[in-house]
């Protein structure tokens, strides 16, 4: 009886385990395929590749729109994350510990852009900002991306700040630290992991954003995903695979850097 039950348990575990392995094959397959294809030599996309070369990486450098739009994308991602931090961190600190229903309603409102279909927001913002005189410009893109970035920053900072006991700041204040000193020396170091995590998400989301960015596309404001999409619709060669691989490498590096900083921070607290 006992032996039979154990064997049944194993069977369930093996079955589920196999399923999970297949699942991760499914999850990783398209990503691995793109990375491999980007190192191909042939003019057309084939998998598996016949010979290894870096020609499609050279093609990225030669094809101006890729580089130009990458620069626009990076500039946009970092500036919208910075703007979102400037707006979102004070808000997160103000709302995190308040029990008032108003504070909770406001916190929900700050997260609302996450739940709205981005394509509708992009469309609405295009006409709204044009009416305000922003036109189709980098500034308009910056405003739109900041709207999307604010929820990520606020959510992460709120989560971290809620876990920090209020005593620490109170102690600093009692010991005579001024308002700004307390913020700089106590609060800011404590919430730093949240700020970094929130900014990282905001940057990654901005770099990948298409539903908003494509509404604001001109030759000087095209972001990388917009250029990639139009390239993909006209040509089908491995250079897009190379761009994707570079983009992924950047994201992985950013994640490692942030985790590094986050770890050092929490280790020293």
């Amino acid at each position: 009886m006992r032996a039979r039950r154990r064997r049944r348990t194993d069977w369930a575990k093996v079955g589920l385990g196999t399923f999970v392995v297949l699942f991760f094959l499914f999850v990783m397959a398209p990503i691995v395929v793109v990375v491999v294809v980007s190192f191909g030599e042939a003019e057309f996309i084939s998998f598996p590749i016949q010979s290894v070369s870096l020609r499609w990486y050279r093609r990225i450098v030669e094809y101006r729109p890729f580089i130009d739009s990458l620069l626009v994308s990076l500039q946009l991602a970092f500036s919208s994350a910075l703007l979102a931090c400037l707006l979102g961190i004070p808000a997160a600190l103000a709302l995190a510990r308040s029990q008032r229903p108003l504070a909770q309603a406001l916190a929900t409102f700050l997260l609302a852009p996450l739940s709205m279909p981005a394509i509708v927001l992009g469309f609405a913002l295009l006409y709204y900002l044009s009416a305000l005189g922003f036109g189709v410009s980098f500034d308009a893109l910056l405003v739109a991306h900041t709207v999307i970035a604010i929820p990520y920053v606020t959510r992460n900072v709120i989560a971290v700040y809620r876990a920090v006991p209020g005593d620490l700041e109170e102690a600093a204040a009692i010991l005579g630290a001024g308002r700004f000193e307390t913020f700089r020396l106590v609060t800011l170091p404590l919430i730093k992991p949240g700020v970094f995590a929130g900014s990282l998400f905001a940057i990654l989301i901005s770099l990948d954003n298409l539903p908003i960015s494509f509404f604001f596309g001109t030759s000087s404001t095209n972001t990388l995903p917009v250029v990639m999409l139009s390239y993909l619709q006209n040509q089908f060669d491995p250079s897009v695979a190379a761009v994707c691989t570079v983009q992924m490498a950047l994201a992985v590096v950013a994640l490692l850097v942030v985790e590094r900083i986050g770890d050092i921070r929490s280790a020293s607290v």
Partner: protein, 291 residues
């Protein structure tokens, strides 16, 4: 009141209290920004969709809700979201269950593999499927070598590919939502049920599954909501066979620039999103009471 009127001790206490709760006023910058550039544009869009070149008109909505083609598109949007949600649930639940109950020291690796796709652009993942499902792609070659098919299938523009692509993008959200709730369920509850004579399946169905429904609901709402707004997968993998509202907005904007109509379609999508958000908030509120 001058500074001299305030004694040292009360001043310090007053200051201390201030630090514990930064005033709500500090949230005004962010709230104001979102009012101006998030809420107002959506409201503005809502109003504008009722005003065509000849003043007030409900024509876009009449077209959307009476023309069989557009009605079918609206219906298909919900249908695709529902199918992707159910498929993600069926695929994601066993993975979440394995993660919580059996993964052990593999948990870190599993988390990393679940998050890895989120670090890649959606174009990359969609492009990967295009390569895999191409006429001379891996899937066709394998199927032919196994003798299952004789001629390469034209998979790229098949509606099924859209579902594969969407599930691939969204299933990590489902797994993470369910795993978060499963983790809080005491495994001894299931063991007790088995000691009391329930079979493994019965113990799961009558103990663990009901307890995990909160996570299932959270994941489902999230996936449904995210599918509702997707169009890149439909655009690149659907070959025009799976037309949903977001894709139609994209096409209308690029081709016809019929802004009133695109705005109206956007508003219908927005209604779906607000409905999802409402359900989501209800779920969170319920969980808050429980905790």
């Amino acid at each position: 009141m001058t500074a001299g009127d305030i004694a040292a001790v009360p001043a310090r206490r007053r200051r201390a209290r201030r630090f514990v709760g930064l005033g709500l006023g500090w949230s005004l910058l962010a709230v104001g920004f979102l009012l101006a550039f998030f809420l107002l544009p959506l409201i503005d869009n809502g109003i504008k969709s009722f005003f065509g070149p000849d003043g007030f008109s409900t024509a876009p909505y009449r077209k959307l809700l009476s023309d069989p083609y557009y009605l079918a598109v609206t219906w298909r949007t919900l249908q695709v979201s529902a199918i992707v949600t159910v498929a993600s649930l069926l695929v994601g639940y066993p993975v979440a269950y394995f993660f919580v109950r059996y993964a052990g020291r593999w948990q870190t690796l599993m988390i990393m593999l679940l998050i890895a796709p989120l670090l890649t652009s959606i174009i990359m993942r969609t492009f990967g499927w295009q390569v895999l499902f191409a006429r001379r792609g891996v899937v066709n070659v394998v199927l032919r070598d196994l003798g299952i098919i004789e001629r390469p299938l034209n998979l790229v523009n098949d509606p099924a590919m859209v579902y594969v692509g969407l599930v691939h993008v969204l299933v990590p959200f489902m797994v993470l939502s369910i795993a978060a709730v499963l983790q809080r369920i005491d495994p001894r509850l299931e063991e007790s049920a088995m000691i009391l004579g329930a079979g493994r399946l019965r113990a799961f169905l009558s103990v663990t599954l009901p307890l995990s429904l909160d996570g299932v609901a959270t994941g489902c709402i999230l996936v449904f909501m995210l599918t509702n707004g997707s169009f890149i997968t439909m655009l690149l993998l659907g070959g025009g066979n799976v037309v949903t509202l977001p894709l139609l907005i994209y096409q209308q904007f690029n081709l016809t620039r019929d802004t009133a109509f695109a705005g109206a379609m956007g508003n219908v999508l927005l209604v779906f999103a607000v409905a999802c958000l409402f359900v989501q908030l209800r779920l969170i509120a319920r969980r808050g009471v429980k905790a």
